[in-house]
Symmetry: C2
Subunit: 340 residues, 2 copies
């Protein structure tokens, strides 16, 4: 409520200044101490977010939504953190193969491992989807959920992004961290709904995003319950794919895990289209947003032709339906959090 009241004050202030000059307005937007989204530049995009939150949280207003129905869902790769030059979960898998190689001498003479260990990217690409599945199986299955969780956490500490030379969990979008906090301060329950593996995301998201494991929806493999001779139970990760939380799988995953329709959703690619359609088609006020990667200098620029995070149909539909499209270069004052 504090945030909301502060925003009302700020808006009145801006409106008063409108007659004076646009320069002053811009400065007011920047300097207002109470701005809940300080890393967002002023403009239509920022306004659309704040207006929506204001409308659904104003008691007695026509668009008011009770707290328990304020469900917000966010894609992860390319929406909450960077997804280039490869999905970070793939970077994790590659790093794990290198780390596990000493225990697997046979990999030195077997594809796709040999190609990866020799940094022969052409030979690796030639192994195709089958090779990728082998790498994912070798790094994501045949261990307990606890062991896998530890491997992920170790990687978030040790690994570095090739371009930015920072831990991968540093390459989250500062404006989106502010948006998550702003929504929660206004009674929203924030969820991740990602094509990424749920066991890969949960170990670090509570600390980095403030999103607890039970609010992370993702793809999953079959996990089996086992008890050893001493009576100790564990959960074994297998290589069998169980659920792909992408494209039409996202509304299915939302229904399965959350059990109610979001009123607010954010994505960045065609894999998020159905989640946005499902969110936008509900009754009452709805917010559907897309992150458009337009900033090659500070991050990356890609959309319709990209192999990773292709944004084509969803961009057309956003224009037709008047969804909010973030232009990263224009709308974000900062991209990543300041180095700690």
């Amino acid at each position: 409520m504090f945030v909301f009241a502060a925003f009302i004050v700020r808006r009145s202030f801006v409106v008063t200044l409108l007659a004076v000059s646009f320069v002053v307005i811009a400065c007011a937007g920047v300097s207002a101490q109470s701005d809940p989204l300080p890393s967002w530049n002023g403009g239509a995009v920022k306004k659309s977010i704040i207006d929506f939150v204001s409308r659904v949280t104003t008691p007695g207003g026509v668009d008011f939504v009770p707290v328990e129905q304020r469900i917000a869902t966010f894609d992860n790769d390319g929406t909450l953190w960077c997804e280039q030059p490869v999905y970070f979960q793939v970077a994790f898998a590659f790093d794990r193969i290198k780390a596990m190689a000493p225990q697997h001498p046979e990999w030195n003479s077997t594809q796709p491992f040999k190609a990866l260990l020799n940094k022969d990217m052409e030979a690796l690409a030639a192994t195709g989807e089958k090779g990728m599945l082998q790498i994912m199986a070798a790094t994501h299955a045949g261990m307990t959920t606890d062991e896998f969780s530890k491997a992920v956490l170790d990687w978030t500490v040790d690994a570095r992004h090739p371009r930015f030379n920072r831990p991968y969990t540093d390459l989250v979008y500062q404006p989106m961290l502010e948006l998550l906090a702003y929504l929660r301060a206004n009674g929203f329950k924030t969820f991740v709904v990602s094509g990424g593996g749920v066991e890969f995301m949960r170990p670090w998201m509570e600390k980095i995003y403030g999103i607890p494991p039970e609010q992370v929806v993702g793809s999953s493999g079959v996990v089996t319950f086992q008890i050893d001779a001493s009576g100790k139970p564990s959960l074994l990760k297998t290589a069998k794919i169980e659920f792909v939380d992408d494209g039409p799988g996202k509304p299915v995953g939302i229904n399965r895990f959350i059990g109610r329709r979001p009123i607010f959703a954010f994505g960045n690619s065609d894999g998020d289209l159905q989640m946005l359609q499902w969110t936008a088609a509900g009754a009452g006020a709805r917010f559907a947003g897309l992150v458009h990667h337009t900033d090659a200098e500070r991050e990356y620029a890609y959309d319709r032709q990209s192999k990773i995070g292709k944004l084509d149909k969803a961009l057309d539909q956003a224009a037709a339906k008047e969804w909010t499209v973030i232009d990263m270069k224009r709308d974000w004052k900062t991209v990543f959090p300041i180095k700690r």
Copy 2:
């Protein structure tokens, strides 16, 4: 915190009185206005619950558990509400067949529908598991999630239990409602983890148990995303079974949906054994509880030989591991909520 502080006062009070007489103690337990579990009789079972909550919520104590890790999971059928003479979801399916029959004249001459409509329970039983699956498919698939949710809600209003002549959602256990509220007042997040269908449970559990849809884990069928010619998306329930959240499926479901191990779990049958094992095997303070149905007069009495809610192996393991076993007749002052 209010509840917790009140309990501390009550306990000191009881301890002081210990030297006087057991009669006085019993009365004090009953009459204490601040008792968070008024429908539970005093004794070892009630004490084990309150002691556990006290230990994990006392800052600085050796058993203290941070709020975000206070996950409590409850089976539903036979643990939070009655499950006799048939699982209530089966009663729903049977009632739906009767309600849908006018639109299905072919059912008058086709098994298992014919048997059910003619109340020929012997012929119905003869159709076996195949017949049951046909009834479940006819009543649980081929409709959207929204349509199914409405059918469930209508049934909770209209249908009556054959013995108690009350709506099925009235036949929840008053002591367990108090336990859920008591845990939440002490920072626990309460989840249902049931073999029942997740789409059958979610529509009414928020109102009846105070448990929101996103904290209900259950069995599920495959759901598919579809968009009609006008662009309206919906989720279609199909008859294909996707996940059975029972027995070893319960720790798997907990891992998939919640993503962390409970510290507190309650069940009532062998289908809950693995959930209790998984919960109890974690590090630190753990609570594992079973409801033992011993009260034929007020509810039902059944255990090792029962077809529904069989409690055999889990009862043995509870004795060996010193889990808390509720004797319904002895430990519950009231069973169902007072009629409204």
